[in-house]
């Protein structure tokens, strides 16, 4: 971030405009397109479905009001999930949000073309005797292109056009409501149409809630424009609340007017009549009781779908812009046109998606999927608000604070899960779409976005020298951080031995650490010193060995971060670190940096305690866990090959297991299986056959291992689990042993599997460790 100028949007949206952006996004498909369909699903209880959706939405809207005021950045929900949730969550939130808004845009473009077709039919326009329905798709493309052009012109034009459209359609809807209510007032008998209220039971109400949920997400667009809002601390939360105060009563009253004022002229209930007319139900209803009803409703429908299309084009562009800026999508998504100050390439990409979906995909099913995606996105946001408060709580400037925190977001989560699960009952296809889209997102994240995200976060390399290394890919790489002159020779000798044994190379890394108070650029001043003081000596030490060497200098806030970045960027296979023998901080297991590298580095880690490992005659290897056994033996074998070291493998069991022959045998076989990994990992070497393991039963294993360690030149210990998990699950045995063991010590930790690594990251994240690490 620091090395790139940050692209910013201009702040020129006031309270009225930004409220209208939200209202415009909501009063679109919800009323004009979905009212007829939803009435056919819920019956007269459609008004209840709108009211209940209003309450569910209100809870999430409070989260949006708080976060939108505290972090008013383009991207909204996507950005907060990025702040508040670990791993692929942020990417998926953006990915789903982008798709959901674009699909909503496609739906509105198609809704527009349906209404326009009806206008053409009213005027008896013909198309070479072909059905006018053939015009639907081309008209949808044309209107999408027009709004792409309007959005390209800039936010002021967008806001002005949006305001006019939104106000106009509120007036038309107001006339519809007034006419409908007047008709009911004139014919009190019409009130009987509301009985039975829910002919399809509460299930019908829930189905209508799920179906119309997309009509309530417009407030999300308010916060997506966060970077463009004047006085965002005040205006964003107010606009979120005001837009709901305008929209929800309108929805309810439209439902009342539509169901109550329609005269079907037969025994057919009005709600069924509306359902049969589907997306044009409202326009057909207006024909009956509203002066100039059809014409006005058609105008209203066209304006609504236009303003909703405008808002969703705006929001899908902002989400993809934010994702491009965060390197989750290609960089061109973040490019801003210097004249119009709009993210034009993100707009073109989003517009293309809108048009493609409108033209090529059966939009009704994908629109239902958009409902589920919005539910999942809002669910993530409600989790994120809890973690963001915990991580950054008192460091943010809030314009609004949610009442009953954290119970309000928890209640929202529960209610949204209920609706989302019910949506599966209602439309399994929608869930299949969601799962498919999320699946593609996962693949994209792990194959593309994750690497770019890491590269963006990585600490800068300021010097890289190929001393005797070549650019050959696939070499086994042993990384040695060489900051401490007291341990550097020991580490280099060991790394040299490993690299020679694996025909690999040694990477010498010096991390220049700069405190958070100073910019990283300050580190540039120390490059020469870092190179001369330690790196050159280290290179000299390795000169006698015939192995490739690479020297790297990085600048970082913490040494561990520099090491982890180097491991990730250059596919390092093993890190070798030194330990002075006591933890640097009461909360650490071995040391702050070593703990962090062991936890986060995606490679084998070996920690050495002791001065000289060049003359090890015998070595004690107490194998406890099969997972580490292979690496422990592999290290031991290297010593055996290079220094003719005698290896003694032990496995200690408790007296209970020792007395149970079956349990004892199972444990030993598990260890042997782990040890076989040592042979499998080095297929080029000749198999060594099974080494004998001494199995002994001891009541005090820690004391026994400590006692044994004093009889040997060196001991290899396996770090069975990482960090807190180790403390929590297997107690503190390994660390006790590490502290008490006599003589030279090697602590080894094997590379984690990717899934295990991901799970650990998530668990650690929610414990707040990642935040702590980043803060330091």
């Amino acid at each position: 971030m620091a090395d790139q100028p940050r692209t910013e949007l201009s702040r020129d949206l006031g309270l009225f405009t930004i409220t209208m952006v939200g209202v415009g996004a909501m009063i679109g498909a919800g009323i004009f397109v979905l009212t007829g369909i939803a009435a056919g699903t819920a019956g007269p209880a459609l008004m209840l479905a709108f009211a209940a959706n209003g309450l569910v939405t209100f809870l999430t809207a409070l989260a949006y009001a708080e976060l939108g005021s505290a972090i008013p950045e383009a991207g909204g929900g996507y950005l907060w999930v990025k702040e508040g949730l670990p791993g692929p969550n942020a990417f998926l939130a953006g990915w789903m949000s982008w798709f959901a808004h674009a699909v909503a845009g496609s739906l509105y473009a198609l809704g527009f073309s349906s209404y326009l077709r009806l206008v053409l039919q009213e005027f008896h326009v013909t198309l070479f005797n072909l059905p006018l329905v053939y015009l639907d798709k081309p008209l949808a493309v044309v209107i999408a292109l027009i709004f792409i052009a309007i959005n390209f012109k800039g936010v002021s034009e967008t806001g002005t056009a949006g305001n006019i459209v939104t106000v106009a359609k509120i007036i038309i809807i107001g006339l519809f409501i007034a006419s409908g209510l007047y008709a009911i007032y004139q014919h009190p008998v019409y009130l009987e149409k509301f009985t039975p209220l829910a002919p399809k039971g509460f299930g019908g109400v829930l189905a209508a809630m799920g179906l119309t949920y997309i009509a309530f997400e417009g407030y999300e667009i308010i916060v997506q424009a966060g970077e463009e809002v004047k006085n965002p601390k005040k205006n964003i939360p107010r606009a979120v609340l005001l837009s709901l105060a305008i929209v929800i009563p309108i929805y309810i009253l439209v439902a009342v007017a539509a169901v109550g004022a329609v005269d079907t002229g037969s025994a057919m209930p009005s709600w069924q009549w509306l359902g049969n007319h589907k997306e044009l139900g409202l326009a057909e209803a207006a024909r009956q009781f509203m002066p100039l009803g059809t014409a006005l409703l058609l105008i209203g429908g066209i304006l609504s779908t236009m303003s909703a299309l405008n808002a969703t084009t705006f929001s899908s562009t902002r989400v993809s812009f934010a994702m491009g800026r965060d390197r989750n999508l290609p960089d061109f998504f973040a490019k801003i046109n210097p004249e119009t100050k709009t993210p034009y390439l993100a707009l073109i990409a989003s517009g293309t998606l809108i048009i493609l979906m409108a033209v090529a995909v059966p939009i009704e099913d994908v629109a239902a999927a958009a409902d589920v995606m919005f539910l999942l996105l809002f669910l993530q946001v409600n989790i994120a608000i809890i973690t963001i408060r915990r991580k950054y709580g008192d460091k943010l400037d809030y314009g609004f604070l949610i009442p009953f925190f954290p119970f309000t977001p928890i209640l929202a989560i529960v209610l949204m899960i209920v609706i989302a699960v019910f949506m599966f009952e209602f439309s399994p296809l929608a869930w299949y779409f969601v799962i498919g889209w999320i699946g593609i997102g996962f693949v994209l994240y792990y194959t593309y976005a994750r690497k770019r995200e890491r590269a963006k976060k990585a600490t800068p390399i300021v010097l890289q020298q190929m001393i005797s290394a070549n650019e050959e890919e696939g070499l086994y790489k042993v990384l040695v951080p060489v900051s401490n002159p007291n341990t550097v020779n020991t580490l280099i000798d060991f790394a040299g031995m490993v690299a020679q044994s694996k025909d690999g190379e040694v990477v010498l890394l010096n991390v220049i650490t700069i405190p958070s108070q100073s910019p990283l650029e300050v580190g540039q001043r120390y490059i020469k010193k870092a190179q001369e003081e330690i790196l050159d000596k280290a290179v000299e030490r390795l000169a006698s060995r015939d192995i490739p060497v690479r020297a790297v200098v990085r600048i970082a806030r913490k040494p561990a971060q520099g090491i982890i970045d180097q491991v990730e960027e250059h596919n390092v296979d093993m890190v070798v670190m030194g330990w002075r023998g006591s933890p640097s901080h009461p909360k650490t297991v071995i040391g702050t940096n070593i703990d962090q590298v062991m936890k986060d580095a995606d490679c084998d880690v070996v920690v050495l305690r002791g001065d000289d490992f060049t003359d090890i005659k015998n070595m004690f290897i107490p194998v406890a866990h099969p997972a580490q056994a292979g690496l422990m033996l592999r290290i031991g074998e290297m010593f055996a090959e290079n220094q003719s070291t005698e290896l003694d493998l032990y496995h200690f069991v408790s007296p209970e297991i020792g007395q149970n022959e079956d349990a004892r045998q199972r444990r030993v076989e598990g260890i042997y299986k782990g040890l076989e990994d040592a042979n499998n990992d080095t297929p080029e070497k000749e198999p060594k056959g099974r080494r004998n393991i001494h199995v002994e039963s001891e009541s005090d294993i820690v004391k026994t291992i400590v006692d044994y360690s004093s009889k040997y030149d060196a001991t290899i210990l396996g770090a069975a689990r990482e960090g807190w998990f180790r403390k929590l699950v297997v107690g503190t045995k390994p660390e006790q042993i590490a502290r008490l063991a006599k003589g030279k010590l090697l602590i080894v930790k094997r590379r984690r599997m990717t899934i295990q690594s991901g799970l650990m990251d998530i668990v650690e994240f929610f414990r707040g460790h990642e935040a702590d690490f980043n803060q330091n």
Binding site: M1, A2, R6, P44, A45, M47, L48, A51, A52, G54, L55, F58, L62, A65, S69, A70, I71, P72, E73, E83, L191, E192, K193, F194, T195, P196, L197, A198, V205, K234, P237, R238, L241, L242, L244, A245, I248, P249, I252, D326, R389, Y392, G393, D394, K395, L396, D397, Y398, G399, F400, L401, I402, P403, F404, F405, K457, S516, A771, N774, Q775
Partner: protein
């Protein structure tokens, strides 16, 4: 995204203000809770009123409760800004 990124974006408070601001909502929670429950009761009345008198009473109750809760929270936004300014001036 880290603390440093948020700092660069100008989203974080200056360090001397960390922990200096109250994180309790300025919205009256008891009133919020009561109004939310009343709005739910309104919905229940709509459903069980089955299109008769209690349905319409339920809708009116829902509207009143809903507008009130929006009004309270909108007022809380203004109060929050005032409180923030006061806390900031006290710290100086």
């Amino acid at each position: 995204m880290s603390m440093e990124d948020l700092k660069e974006q100008g989203v974080l408070l200056p360090e001397e203000e960390w922990g200096a601001h109250n994180l309790k909502t300025t919205s009256p929670q008891l009133a919020d809770a009561l109004l939310f429950i009343i709005a739910i009761i309104g919905c229940v009345m709509v459903y069980y009123g089955d299109g008769n008198k209690w349905t319409w009473i339920g809708i009116v109750i829902f509207f009143l409760a809903f507008f009130s809760i929006i009004w309270l929270n909108d007022r809380a936004v203004k109060k929050q800004r005032e409180r923030f300014r006061e806390e900031r001036s006290e710290n100086k």
